[in-house]
Amino acid sequence: MKTNDLIIQTTTKLVFFIIFLFSIHIFFAGHYTPGGGFVGGLLMSSAIVLLLLAFDLKTVKEMLPVNYTVVTAIGLLISIATAAGSIFFNVPFFTHVYDYFNIPLLGKTSIHTAMFFDTGVYLVVVGVTMTIIQMIGGDE
């Protein structure tokens, strides 16, 4: 007995973008206010899980043709590269630097290497969560 999922599908199409935007906002807010890579990654996974609930596994795989194992690997590589970058400047492992740059649209922005490390964390969290859920949920 397949029920009519019209309402949840229509609502998901709208809410997915809101959760996605909120996840990006939380990710960038992590330096001064609560938030960061881990929570942002979990929010992103929750948005994809909402898609999985509203549609089925095959449809979501067509929408987002991403291999989440590769996402995890890329995230780990980014984090390791950020930490290992300090070796070339003759400072201890994991030393972070930051500087101010003038970016055309944003103006004077502080860029900190911790943000790249957090990007790695974000990708690892999304990859691991989605791998677990697809392993459990997929029956193929």
Binding site: N4, I7, T10
Partner: protein, 159 residues
């Protein structure tokens, strides 16, 4: 609707370029000018003037808050009665709405007003199954929903 809004934004941006000032105030002035031009040429578009649609949305919001208040009061009166004199029922309501978002909006509005709740939609998206707390007469309940929400949503989506 979308085309007219896009045109209005393009007119506003053109106005910003013409007056060589990129401030929000210039954009607003250009937008209002574009609105006036679109109003003059409203007969030339295939769809209706988009402010009508915006007005219909505002009317729908006002109607929703009115219904919310009234039905809240009626449910409250049912609750504080010493005897439970309710007649719960589930009835089917055929709908004339076709688009996905219209049906979703109608179902949400029905569910958000206390006393009635959409529990299922038929597979061909033509019938809503509604559970109600206190049913006097099926036709009366269907007509009340028809006259309020369905009419207002049709008013919004009319091209």
């Amino acid at each position: 609707m979308a085309f007219q809004i896009l045109l209005n934004v393009i007119i506003a941006v053109t106005w910003m370029f013409l007056s060589v000032s990129f401030k929000p105030t210039t954009f607003i002035v250009g937008y209002l000018l574009g609105l006036f031009m679109l109003f003059l040429l409203r007969k030339s578009f295939s769809s209706r003037f988009y402010l009508d649609q915006v007005w219909a949305v505002i009317k729908l919001i006002i109607l929703f808050f009115k219904e919310l208040t009234l039905s809240n009061i009626s449910v409250l009166l049912l609750i504080i009665k010493p005897k439970m004199q309710i007649r719960p029922a589930i009835f089917a309501m055929p709908t004339v709405l076709e688009k996905d978002w219209e049906i979703t909006l109608l179902s949400s509005l029905i569910t958000l007003t206390p006393g009635t709740m959409v529990i299922a939609i038929s597979d061909d998206n033509k019938t809503l199954y509604i559970h109600t707390l206190d049913l006097d007469d099926v036709d009366e309940a269907i007509d009340s929903i028809r006259d309020t929400f369905e009419k207002a949503i049709l008013e919004v989506s009319r091209s």
